[in-house]
Protein backbone atom coordinates (compact mmCIF):
# COMPACT_ATOMS: atom_id res chain seq x y z
CA UNK A 1 0.00 0.00 0.00
CA UNK A 2 2.79 2.41 0.78
CA UNK A 3 3.42 4.19 -2.43
CA UNK A 4 6.49 6.16 -3.26
CA UNK A 5 6.20 9.59 -1.70
CA UNK A 6 8.65 12.22 -2.76
CA UNK A 7 9.56 15.15 -0.55
CA UNK A 8 6.58 14.52 1.65
CA UNK A 9 7.60 15.01 5.27
CA UNK A 10 5.11 12.78 7.09
CA UNK A 11 3.52 9.65 5.71
CA UNK A 12 -0.16 9.60 6.49
CA UNK A 13 -2.62 6.76 6.43
CA UNK A 14 -3.52 7.35 2.81
CA UNK A 15 -1.34 9.21 0.41
CA UNK A 16 -2.75 12.08 -1.46
CA UNK A 17 -4.13 10.39 -4.52
CA UNK A 18 -2.52 12.61 -7.11
CA UNK A 19 0.94 11.98 -5.63
CA UNK A 20 2.84 8.80 -6.04
CA UNK A 21 1.75 7.90 -9.53
CA UNK A 22 4.58 5.67 -10.78
CA UNK A 23 6.60 6.98 -13.66
CA UNK A 24 5.74 3.98 -15.81
CA UNK A 25 2.07 4.70 -15.28
CA UNK A 26 2.44 8.35 -16.19
CA UNK A 27 4.04 7.32 -19.45
CA UNK A 28 0.99 5.22 -20.30
CA UNK A 29 -1.70 7.71 -19.39
CA UNK A 30 -1.41 9.47 -22.77
CA UNK A 31 -2.01 6.10 -24.42
CA UNK A 32 -5.22 5.60 -22.52
CA UNK A 33 -6.22 9.13 -23.31
CA UNK A 34 -5.83 8.53 -27.00
CA UNK A 35 -7.73 5.26 -26.87
CA UNK A 36 -10.53 6.99 -25.00
CA UNK A 37 -10.62 9.77 -27.55
CA UNK A 38 -11.08 7.22 -30.30
CA UNK A 39 -13.85 5.47 -28.41
CA UNK A 40 -15.60 8.76 -27.69
CA UNK A 41 -15.42 9.61 -31.37
CA UNK A 42 -17.14 6.33 -32.13
CA UNK A 43 -19.87 7.22 -29.70
CA UNK A 44 -18.96 4.60 -27.11
CA UNK A 45 -20.23 5.69 -23.70
CA UNK A 46 -18.88 2.93 -21.49
CA UNK A 47 -15.88 0.68 -21.76
CA UNK A 48 -14.49 -2.24 -19.77
CA UNK A 49 -10.87 -2.51 -18.75
CA UNK A 50 -10.44 -5.38 -21.18
CA UNK A 51 -11.71 -3.39 -24.13
CA UNK A 52 -9.82 -0.25 -23.22
CA UNK A 53 -6.66 -2.21 -22.60
CA UNK A 54 -6.90 -3.74 -26.04
CA UNK A 55 -7.46 -0.34 -27.63
CA UNK A 56 -4.40 0.98 -25.90
CA UNK A 57 -2.30 -2.10 -26.51
CA UNK A 58 -1.60 -3.04 -22.90
CA UNK A 59 -2.46 -5.77 -20.43
CA UNK A 60 -5.84 -5.21 -18.77
CA UNK A 61 -4.52 -5.82 -15.27
CA UNK A 62 -1.90 -3.18 -15.85
CA UNK A 63 -4.53 -0.78 -17.08
CA UNK A 64 -6.67 -1.28 -14.00
CA UNK A 65 -3.72 -0.84 -11.69
CA UNK A 66 -2.66 2.28 -13.52
CA UNK A 67 -6.11 3.78 -13.22
CA UNK A 68 -6.31 2.80 -9.58
CA UNK A 69 -3.46 5.19 -8.86
CA UNK A 70 -5.66 8.05 -9.97
CA UNK A 71 -8.68 6.96 -7.97
CA UNK A 72 -11.67 4.66 -8.26
CA UNK A 73 -13.25 5.91 -11.41
CA UNK A 74 -14.82 2.65 -12.58
CA UNK A 75 -18.04 0.87 -11.71
CA UNK A 76 -17.71 -2.80 -10.85
CA UNK A 77 -19.72 -4.99 -13.11
CA UNK A 78 -19.95 -2.25 -15.73
CA UNK A 79 -16.66 -0.59 -16.58
CA UNK A 80 -15.56 2.98 -17.06
CA UNK A 81 -17.57 5.87 -18.38
CA UNK A 82 -15.56 7.07 -21.36
CA UNK A 83 -16.01 10.83 -21.04
CA UNK A 84 -15.63 10.86 -17.30
CA UNK A 85 -12.45 8.82 -17.34
CA UNK A 86 -11.09 10.93 -20.13
CA UNK A 87 -11.60 14.04 -18.08
CA UNK A 88 -9.99 12.52 -15.01
CA UNK A 89 -6.89 11.44 -16.87
CA UNK A 90 -6.64 14.78 -18.64
CA UNK A 91 -6.78 16.55 -15.33
CA UNK A 92 -4.19 14.24 -13.83
CA UNK A 93 -1.71 14.90 -16.61
CA UNK A 94 -2.50 18.57 -16.58
CA UNK A 95 -4.07 18.76 -19.98
CA UNK A 96 -7.09 20.69 -18.83
CA UNK A 97 -4.89 23.72 -18.68
CA UNK A 98 -3.12 25.49 -21.48
CA UNK A 99 0.61 24.89 -21.95
CA UNK A 100 2.46 27.46 -24.00
CA UNK A 101 5.41 25.88 -25.78
CA UNK A 102 8.37 27.34 -27.59
CA UNK A 103 10.18 25.44 -30.32
CA UNK A 104 13.82 26.26 -30.98
CA UNK A 105 15.28 25.25 -34.30
CA UNK A 106 12.95 25.44 -37.26
CA UNK A 107 14.56 22.92 -39.55
CA UNK A 108 12.59 20.04 -40.97
CA UNK A 109 12.01 18.57 -37.56
CA UNK A 110 11.05 21.86 -35.96
CA UNK A 111 8.54 22.45 -38.71
CA UNK A 112 7.14 18.98 -38.31
CA UNK A 113 6.67 19.63 -34.62
CA UNK A 114 5.12 23.04 -35.22
CA UNK A 115 2.59 21.47 -37.55
CA UNK A 116 1.95 18.45 -35.41
CA UNK A 117 -1.75 18.29 -34.67
CA UNK A 118 -1.23 16.15 -31.60
CA UNK A 119 0.06 19.15 -29.72
CA UNK A 120 -2.75 21.61 -30.28
CA UNK A 121 -5.42 19.03 -29.57
CA UNK A 122 -4.02 18.23 -26.16
CA UNK A 123 -3.61 21.50 -24.37
CA UNK A 124 -0.32 22.47 -25.91
CA UNK A 125 -0.09 25.74 -27.75
CA UNK A 126 2.98 26.61 -29.74
CA UNK A 127 3.52 30.29 -29.00
CA UNK A 128 7.01 30.73 -30.33
CA UNK A 129 9.18 29.47 -33.16
CA UNK A 130 12.79 30.48 -32.88
CA UNK A 131 15.69 29.92 -35.24
CA UNK A 132 19.30 31.07 -35.26
CA UNK A 133 19.29 31.70 -39.00
CA UNK A 134 18.43 35.40 -39.51
CA UNK A 135 17.17 34.73 -43.03
CA UNK A 136 14.38 32.63 -41.58
CA UNK A 137 13.09 35.33 -39.24
CA UNK A 138 9.75 36.56 -40.42
CA UNK A 139 8.99 33.39 -42.29
CA UNK A 140 5.60 31.93 -41.47
CA UNK A 141 5.48 28.31 -40.31
CA UNK A 142 2.30 26.66 -39.09
CA UNK A 143 0.64 30.05 -38.89
CA UNK A 144 3.37 31.53 -36.71
CA UNK A 145 6.07 34.03 -37.53
CA UNK A 146 9.55 32.68 -36.91
CA UNK A 147 11.56 34.79 -34.48
CA UNK A 148 15.31 35.11 -34.22
CA UNK A 149 17.13 33.40 -31.37
CA UNK A 150 17.89 36.81 -29.91
CA UNK A 151 14.23 37.18 -29.03
CA UNK A 152 14.04 33.83 -27.25
CA UNK A 153 13.94 35.28 -23.75
CA UNK A 154 11.32 37.82 -24.70
CA UNK A 155 9.02 35.18 -26.18
CA UNK A 156 9.38 33.02 -23.08
CA UNK A 157 8.63 35.82 -20.63
CA UNK A 158 5.83 37.26 -22.68
CA UNK A 159 3.89 34.01 -22.89
CA UNK A 160 5.06 32.55 -19.57
CA UNK A 161 6.47 29.53 -21.39
CA UNK A 162 7.32 26.63 -19.08
CA UNK A 163 8.03 23.99 -21.73
CA UNK A 164 10.69 24.28 -24.40
CA UNK A 165 11.43 22.01 -27.34
CA UNK A 166 14.94 21.82 -28.74
CA UNK A 167 15.12 20.80 -32.39
CA UNK A 168 18.47 22.36 -33.22
CA UNK A 169 21.65 20.69 -34.40
CA UNK A 170 23.58 18.95 -31.63
CA UNK A 171 26.21 21.66 -31.45
CA UNK A 172 23.77 24.39 -30.52
CA UNK A 173 21.61 22.38 -28.14
CA UNK A 174 23.42 23.02 -24.87
CA UNK A 175 23.61 26.77 -25.43
CA UNK A 176 19.92 26.88 -26.28
CA UNK A 177 19.17 24.72 -23.28
CA UNK A 178 21.05 27.05 -20.94
CA UNK A 179 19.21 30.05 -22.27
CA UNK A 180 15.84 28.32 -21.93
CA UNK A 181 16.61 27.48 -18.33
CA UNK A 182 17.91 30.95 -17.57
CA UNK A 183 14.72 32.44 -19.00
CA UNK A 184 12.60 30.32 -16.70
CA UNK A 185 11.73 27.22 -18.70
CA UNK A 186 11.50 24.23 -16.36
CA UNK A 187 10.67 21.40 -18.76
CA UNK A 188 12.66 20.61 -21.88
CA UNK A 189 12.10 18.13 -24.65
CA UNK A 190 15.32 17.52 -26.52
CA UNK A 191 15.48 16.16 -30.05
CA UNK A 192 19.12 17.01 -30.61
CA UNK A 193 21.34 13.93 -30.47
CA UNK A 194 23.45 15.08 -27.57
CA UNK A 195 23.57 14.86 -23.80
CA UNK A 196 22.24 17.99 -22.12
CA UNK A 197 23.07 19.24 -18.64
CA UNK A 198 20.27 20.89 -16.69
CA UNK A 199 20.15 22.06 -13.08
CA UNK A 200 17.98 20.35 -10.49
CA UNK A 201 14.33 21.21 -10.77
CA UNK A 202 14.37 21.22 -14.55
CA UNK A 203 12.83 18.20 -16.22
CA UNK A 204 14.53 16.93 -19.32
CA UNK A 205 13.27 14.32 -21.71
CA UNK A 206 15.02 13.08 -24.79
CA UNK A 207 13.81 11.73 -28.08
CA UNK A 208 16.51 10.26 -30.22
CA UNK A 209 15.48 9.17 -33.67
CA UNK A 210 18.61 7.22 -34.47
CA UNK A 211 18.66 5.28 -31.21
CA UNK A 212 15.31 3.73 -32.00
CA UNK A 213 16.57 2.58 -35.37
CA UNK A 214 19.68 1.13 -33.78
CA UNK A 215 17.59 -0.89 -31.36
CA UNK A 216 15.61 -2.24 -34.30
CA UNK A 217 18.82 -3.10 -36.09
CA UNK A 218 20.01 -5.05 -33.07
CA UNK A 219 16.92 -7.23 -33.06
CA UNK A 220 16.89 -7.51 -36.82
CA UNK A 221 20.44 -8.78 -36.78
CA UNK A 222 19.47 -11.46 -34.28
CA UNK A 223 16.62 -12.79 -36.39
CA UNK A 224 17.84 -14.21 -39.61
CA UNK A 225 21.01 -12.22 -40.13
CA UNK A 226 23.00 -13.55 -37.20
CA UNK A 227 23.38 -17.18 -38.27
CA UNK A 228 24.65 -16.01 -41.64
CA UNK A 229 27.34 -13.75 -40.29
CA UNK A 230 28.99 -15.35 -37.32
CA UNK A 231 32.20 -14.24 -35.73
CA UNK A 232 34.83 -16.89 -35.18
CA UNK A 233 34.05 -17.24 -31.50
CA UNK A 234 30.33 -17.40 -32.08
CA UNK A 235 30.82 -20.16 -34.63
CA UNK A 236 32.96 -22.10 -32.18
CA UNK A 237 30.38 -21.77 -29.44
CA UNK A 238 27.57 -22.74 -31.78
CA UNK A 239 29.49 -25.81 -32.90
CA UNK A 240 29.99 -26.82 -29.31
CA UNK A 241 26.32 -26.36 -28.59
CA UNK A 242 25.31 -28.51 -31.53
CA UNK A 243 27.77 -31.25 -30.59
CA UNK A 244 26.24 -31.58 -27.13
Amino acid sequence: MTRRTRHVPAEHATDIASRGVPEATVARLPLYLRALAMLAERGVATVSSDELAESAGVNSAKLRKDLSYLGSYGTRGVGYEVEYLRHQISREIGLTQDWPVVIVGIGNLGQALANYAGFASRGFRVVGLVDADPTRSGEVVAGLVVSHTDDLEQVIREHRVAIGVIATPAGAAQRVCDRLVAAGVTSILNFAPTLLQVPDGVDLRKVDLSIELQILAYHEQRKNGAPLALTAEQAAELAEAVRA
Copy 2:
Protein backbone atom coordinates in the same frame (compact mmCIF):
# COMPACT_ATOMS: atom_id res chain seq x y z
CA MET B 1 25.28 -15.83 -13.42
CA THR B 2 22.43 -17.49 -15.29
CA ARG B 3 21.26 -14.92 -17.76
CA ARG B 4 17.95 -14.90 -19.50
CA THR B 5 18.05 -17.29 -22.41
CA ARG B 6 15.28 -17.12 -24.95
CA HIS B 7 14.33 -20.00 -27.19
CA VAL B 8 17.50 -21.82 -26.36
CA PRO B 9 16.74 -25.51 -25.87
CA ALA B 10 19.56 -26.55 -23.58
CA GLU B 11 21.32 -24.32 -21.07
CA HIS B 12 25.04 -24.78 -21.21
CA ALA B 13 27.71 -23.84 -18.74
CA THR B 14 28.19 -20.41 -20.26
CA ASP B 15 25.60 -18.75 -22.42
CA ILE B 16 26.54 -17.60 -25.84
CA ALA B 17 27.81 -14.14 -25.12
CA SER B 18 25.88 -12.33 -27.79
CA ARG B 19 22.58 -13.73 -26.50
CA GLY B 20 20.89 -12.55 -23.39
CA VAL B 21 21.77 -8.89 -23.56
CA PRO B 22 19.02 -7.23 -21.50
CA GLU B 23 16.72 -4.92 -23.36
CA ALA B 24 17.62 -2.01 -21.10
CA THR B 25 21.26 -2.52 -22.00
CA VAL B 26 20.55 -2.65 -25.72
CA ALA B 27 18.79 0.68 -25.44
CA ARG B 28 21.90 2.22 -23.91
CA LEU B 29 24.46 0.83 -26.31
CA PRO B 30 23.78 3.58 -28.86
CA LEU B 31 24.48 6.11 -26.11
CA TYR B 32 27.86 4.59 -25.43
CA LEU B 33 28.54 4.47 -29.12
CA ARG B 34 27.90 8.17 -29.48
CA ALA B 35 30.04 9.00 -26.46
CA LEU B 36 32.85 6.89 -27.89
CA ALA B 37 32.52 8.61 -31.24
CA MET B 38 32.97 11.97 -29.56
CA LEU B 39 35.98 10.76 -27.63
CA ALA B 40 37.53 9.28 -30.77
CA GLU B 41 37.02 12.58 -32.54
CA ARG B 42 38.91 14.30 -29.74
CA GLY B 43 41.75 11.85 -30.23
CA VAL B 44 41.25 10.01 -26.94
CA ALA B 45 42.69 6.51 -27.20
CA THR B 46 41.71 5.05 -23.86
CA VAL B 47 38.88 5.76 -21.48
CA SER B 48 37.89 4.55 -18.04
CA SER B 49 34.39 3.45 -17.17
CA ASP B 50 33.99 6.53 -14.99
CA GLU B 51 34.87 8.89 -17.81
CA LEU B 52 32.82 7.09 -20.41
CA ALA B 53 29.87 6.84 -18.06
CA GLU B 54 29.95 10.57 -17.52
CA SER B 55 30.13 11.23 -21.24
CA ALA B 56 27.12 9.03 -21.78
CA GLY B 57 25.24 10.31 -18.77
CA VAL B 58 24.91 7.06 -16.87
CA ASN B 59 26.16 5.44 -13.69
CA SER B 60 29.62 3.91 -14.11
CA ALA B 61 28.61 0.63 -12.48
CA LYS B 62 25.76 0.34 -14.90
CA LEU B 63 28.08 1.03 -17.80
CA ARG B 64 30.48 -1.68 -16.71
CA LYS B 65 27.68 -4.15 -16.23
CA ASP B 66 26.25 -3.31 -19.63
CA LEU B 67 29.60 -3.81 -21.32
CA SER B 68 30.15 -7.04 -19.44
CA TYR B 69 27.18 -8.52 -21.28
CA LEU B 70 29.07 -8.10 -24.52
CA GLY B 71 32.30 -9.56 -23.23
CA SER B 72 35.43 -8.53 -21.37
CA TYR B 73 36.66 -5.74 -23.53
CA GLY B 74 38.37 -3.65 -20.86
CA THR B 75 41.78 -3.84 -19.24
CA ARG B 76 41.80 -3.72 -15.46
CA GLY B 77 43.78 -0.84 -14.11
CA VAL B 78 43.61 0.94 -17.47
CA GLY B 79 40.15 1.16 -18.99
CA TYR B 80 38.75 0.59 -22.45
CA GLU B 81 40.42 1.21 -25.75
CA VAL B 82 38.10 3.65 -27.49
CA GLU B 83 38.31 2.36 -31.06
CA TYR B 84 38.22 -1.27 -30.07
CA LEU B 85 35.19 -0.86 -27.82
CA ARG B 86 33.48 1.18 -30.47
CA HIS B 87 33.92 -1.58 -32.96
CA GLN B 88 32.66 -4.23 -30.56
CA ILE B 89 29.52 -2.30 -29.71
CA SER B 90 28.91 -1.52 -33.36
CA ARG B 91 29.18 -5.16 -34.21
CA GLU B 92 26.88 -6.14 -31.37
CA ILE B 93 24.16 -3.77 -32.51
CA GLY B 94 24.72 -4.74 -36.11
CA LEU B 95 26.00 -1.42 -37.31
CA THR B 96 28.97 -2.87 -39.11
CA GLN B 97 26.61 -3.94 -41.83
CA ASP B 98 24.53 -1.78 -44.09
CA TRP B 99 20.82 -1.38 -43.33
CA PRO B 100 18.68 -0.21 -46.22
CA VAL B 101 15.69 1.75 -44.91
CA VAL B 102 12.52 2.93 -46.55
CA ILE B 103 10.62 5.96 -45.27
CA VAL B 104 6.90 6.16 -45.95
CA GLY B 105 5.23 9.53 -45.70
CA ILE B 106 7.31 12.47 -46.83
CA GLY B 107 5.69 15.24 -44.85
CA ASN B 108 7.73 17.48 -42.62
CA LEU B 109 8.64 14.61 -40.37
CA GLY B 110 9.52 12.27 -43.20
CA GLN B 111 11.77 14.91 -44.68
CA ALA B 112 13.40 15.53 -41.34
CA LEU B 113 14.12 11.84 -41.07
CA ALA B 114 15.40 11.60 -44.63
CA ASN B 115 17.83 14.43 -43.93
CA TYR B 116 18.84 13.20 -40.51
CA ALA B 117 22.58 12.74 -40.46
CA GLY B 118 22.43 10.32 -37.54
CA PHE B 119 21.11 7.63 -39.87
CA ALA B 120 23.67 7.71 -42.60
CA SER B 121 26.56 7.85 -40.16
CA ARG B 122 25.52 4.67 -38.38
CA GLY B 123 25.04 2.08 -41.05
CA PHE B 124 21.58 3.11 -42.11
CA ARG B 125 21.01 4.01 -45.71
CA VAL B 126 17.76 5.51 -46.82
CA VAL B 127 17.05 3.80 -50.12
CA GLY B 128 13.44 4.76 -50.62
CA LEU B 129 11.14 7.68 -49.97
CA VAL B 130 7.49 6.93 -50.58
CA ASP B 131 4.46 9.17 -50.40
CA ALA B 132 0.81 8.67 -51.23
CA ASP B 133 0.46 12.10 -52.79
CA PRO B 134 1.07 11.68 -56.56
CA THR B 135 2.07 15.32 -56.92
CA ARG B 136 5.10 14.65 -54.76
CA SER B 137 6.38 11.77 -56.86
CA GLY B 138 9.55 12.77 -58.62
CA GLU B 139 10.35 15.47 -56.11
CA VAL B 140 13.88 15.27 -54.75
CA VAL B 141 14.33 15.11 -50.97
CA ALA B 142 17.69 14.57 -49.34
CA GLY B 143 19.14 13.58 -52.67
CA LEU B 144 16.52 10.93 -53.33
CA VAL B 145 13.61 10.89 -55.73
CA VAL B 146 10.27 10.43 -53.99
CA SER B 147 8.32 7.40 -55.25
CA HIS B 148 4.61 6.85 -55.18
CA THR B 149 3.12 4.44 -52.64
CA ASP B 150 2.27 2.09 -55.50
CA ASP B 151 5.96 1.37 -55.90
CA LEU B 152 6.50 0.56 -52.24
CA GLU B 153 6.77 -3.18 -52.74
CA GLN B 154 9.16 -2.79 -55.63
CA VAL B 155 11.48 -0.54 -53.65
CA ILE B 156 11.51 -2.96 -50.74
CA ARG B 157 12.27 -6.01 -52.87
CA GLU B 158 14.80 -4.27 -55.02
CA HIS B 159 16.90 -3.08 -52.09
CA ARG B 160 16.09 -5.96 -49.74
CA VAL B 161 14.76 -3.50 -47.19
CA ALA B 162 14.28 -5.01 -43.74
CA ILE B 163 13.53 -1.81 -41.82
CA GLY B 164 10.65 0.52 -42.58
CA VAL B 165 9.83 3.90 -41.10
CA ILE B 166 6.23 5.11 -40.99
CA ALA B 167 5.82 8.87 -40.92
CA THR B 168 2.34 9.06 -42.38
CA PRO B 169 -0.82 10.45 -40.81
CA ALA B 170 -2.41 8.12 -38.26
CA GLY B 171 -5.19 7.07 -40.62
CA ALA B 172 -2.84 5.61 -43.21
CA ALA B 173 -0.38 3.98 -40.83
CA GLN B 174 -1.95 0.54 -40.44
CA ARG B 175 -2.43 0.10 -44.19
CA VAL B 176 1.16 1.10 -44.82
CA CYS B 177 2.28 -1.18 -42.01
CA ASP B 178 0.45 -4.15 -43.50
CA ARG B 179 2.00 -3.55 -46.87
CA LEU B 180 5.47 -3.22 -45.40
CA VAL B 181 5.05 -6.52 -43.60
CA ALA B 182 3.60 -8.22 -46.65
CA ALA B 183 6.55 -7.06 -48.71
CA GLY B 184 8.99 -8.57 -46.25
CA VAL B 185 9.88 -5.79 -43.84
CA THR B 186 10.49 -7.25 -40.37
CA SER B 187 11.30 -4.13 -38.34
CA ILE B 188 9.13 -1.05 -38.24
CA LEU B 189 9.62 2.31 -36.61
CA ASN B 190 6.30 4.07 -36.25
CA PHE B 191 5.96 7.83 -35.84
CA ALA B 192 2.23 7.92 -36.49
CA PRO B 193 0.22 8.46 -33.32
CA THR B 194 -1.71 5.22 -33.51
CA LEU B 195 -1.49 1.66 -32.31
CA LEU B 196 -0.25 -0.70 -34.99
CA GLN B 197 -0.88 -4.43 -35.23
CA VAL B 198 1.95 -6.57 -36.54
CA PRO B 199 2.28 -10.34 -36.75
CA ASP B 200 4.75 -12.25 -34.59
CA GLY B 201 8.28 -11.97 -35.78
CA VAL B 202 7.96 -8.37 -36.77
CA ASP B 203 9.55 -5.85 -34.42
CA LEU B 204 7.68 -2.65 -33.86
CA ARG B 205 8.92 0.43 -32.08
CA LYS B 206 7.01 3.60 -31.55
CA VAL B 207 8.05 7.20 -31.20
CA ASP B 208 5.27 9.49 -30.12
CA LEU B 209 6.09 13.15 -30.04
CA SER B 210 3.03 14.24 -28.12
CA ILE B 211 3.37 11.61 -25.40
CA GLU B 212 6.71 13.00 -24.38
CA LEU B 213 5.24 16.46 -24.06
CA GLN B 214 2.38 15.12 -21.98
CA ILE B 215 4.78 13.47 -19.58
CA LEU B 216 6.58 16.76 -19.19
CA ALA B 217 3.28 18.52 -18.58
CA TYR B 218 2.47 16.05 -15.84
CA HIS B 219 5.65 16.81 -13.97
CA GLU B 220 5.38 20.50 -14.67
CA GLN B 221 1.94 20.57 -13.16
CA ARG B 222 3.28 18.95 -10.02
CA LYS B 223 6.01 21.52 -9.51
CA ASN B 224 4.56 24.91 -8.87
CA GLY B 225 1.29 24.71 -10.67
CA ALA B 226 -0.38 22.07 -8.53
CA PRO B 227 -0.69 23.99 -5.26
CA LEU B 228 -2.23 26.91 -7.10
CA ALA B 229 -4.92 24.91 -8.84
CA LEU B 230 -6.33 22.33 -6.48
CA THR B 231 -9.47 20.37 -6.99
CA ALA B 232 -11.96 20.31 -4.15
CA GLU B 233 -10.93 16.85 -3.01
CA GLN B 234 -7.24 17.66 -3.20
CA ALA B 235 -7.83 20.73 -1.08
CA ALA B 236 -9.72 18.69 1.48
CA GLU B 237 -6.97 16.11 1.63
CA LEU B 238 -4.30 18.74 1.93
CA ALA B 239 -6.22 20.43 4.73
CA GLU B 240 -6.42 17.14 6.56
CA ALA B 241 -2.74 16.54 6.10
CA VAL B 242 -1.87 19.95 7.47
CA ARG B 243 -4.17 19.50 10.46
CA ALA B 244 -2.40 16.32 11.51
